[in-house]
């Protein structure tokens, strides 16, 4: 029982990850795909932060009266990842705008149709 509770967070993260993955492979709208990618990305952030939590710990800000701190390193990694993530997402969205200008559509199948 304790085993299942200790893994529960990972399973929620995997569920979110697979939801994002599903959007990317099943939807043909390019903006929808970018949204799916960012759901996937956020789930990875949550995975790292879950790994960093230490039982009975507190936020890693050194202060008197606290002995146990959660791991600060996943936080540092993910802070960088969030900012890089929004940078890559903005490039993807700019590409979508360009595709719309060139093809008059952002539906994948219609774009393939025109390229045929």
């Amino acid at each position: 029982m304790a085993d299942v509770l200790g893994l529960y967070n990972y399973w929620v993260v995997i569920f979110l990850m697979m939801t994002g993955f599903y959007i990317v492979i099943s939807r043909r709208n390019l903006i929808k795909k970018v949204i799916g990618l960012s759901i996937f990305q956020t789930s990875v952030f949550l995975l790292y932060i879950t790994i960093g939590k230490v039982r009975g710990g507190t936020a890693p800000i050194v202060a008197d009266g606290f002995e146990v701190y959660s791991n600060p390193l996943p936080s540092v990694l993910i802070l960088t990842a969030i900012v890089v993530g929004v940078a890559t997402a903005s490039v993807a969205l700019a590409l979508v705008v360009r595709i719309r200008e060139a093809y008059e559509t952002i539906e994948e199948d219609e774009i393939f149709e025109q390229d045929r």
Binding site: P60, V62, V86, S90, V91, V96, R100, I106
Partner: protein
């Protein structure tokens, strides 16, 4: 006393996780892109709340500001330049669903070997030796260890990060350069 606090935290966590899953599923179903973008904002904000419960306040407020704020604005700007409706998926969804189910099952099987949630003996929490947390204030004079690592111990990584953002900004400018000039008059008619 501490067990009641534990119970409260667990209840709030369970609620947040349920809402996260429901929001993600709603994004899958949503065909109106404007609503999907708004739901993404909610999703990011729920994620940020969970991060706060997991002792990562720095990440939580970055996610709330950048994930729920700036991302949403960028996505809305894209919608204004393109369209807010997505077509009904015509293909059968059985294939993607099968792929996702199998991948998810394999990943869940993989988690059986993972250290349990909150384990102080987990490899992630024992290496490098956690004593650097106590030394941070002496070394860098900042009590917040996350800030100290980000700004000083691993300052070069943060510099690299700003280079990535700069590159992305340049790319967006180059991609959209002159887009107004190229856009024909009927082109932007579908903005909300």
């Amino acid at each position: 006393m501490s067990s009641t606090v534990d119970l409260e935290v667990q209840t709030v966590t369970a609620l947040l996780l349920t809402l996260l899953c429901v929001t993600a599923l709603a994004v899958v179903r949503m065909r109106n892109l404007w609503a999907a973008v708004m739901l993404m904002g909610i999703y990011s904000f729920l994620g940020a709340s969970w991060m706060l419960l997991l002792d990562a306040p720095d990440v939580a407020f970055t996610e709330a500001a950048v994930g729920a704020g700036i991302s949403t604005i960028l996505a809305l700007a894209t919608l204004a330049l393109t369209t807010t409706r997505s077509k009904q998926p015509a293909r059968s969804q059985a294939g993607p669903l099968a792929i996702v189910t199998v991948t998810g099952a394999v990943l869940m099987y993989g988690t059986v070997d993972m250290p349990r949630f909150g384990d102080p003996e987990a490899p992630a929490s024992t290496y490098p030796h956690p004593s650097y947390v106590e030394r941070t204030e002496h070394d860098i004079h900042i009590p917040n260890v996350v800030t100290a690592v980000l700004g000083s111990y691993r300052g070069y990584d943060t510099l690299g990060e700003t280079v990535v953002i700069f590159t992305a900004g340049i790319s967006v400018l180059l991609l959209l350069q002159g887009s107004r000039r190229r856009t024909r008059d009927e082109g932007g008619g579908e903005s909300p």
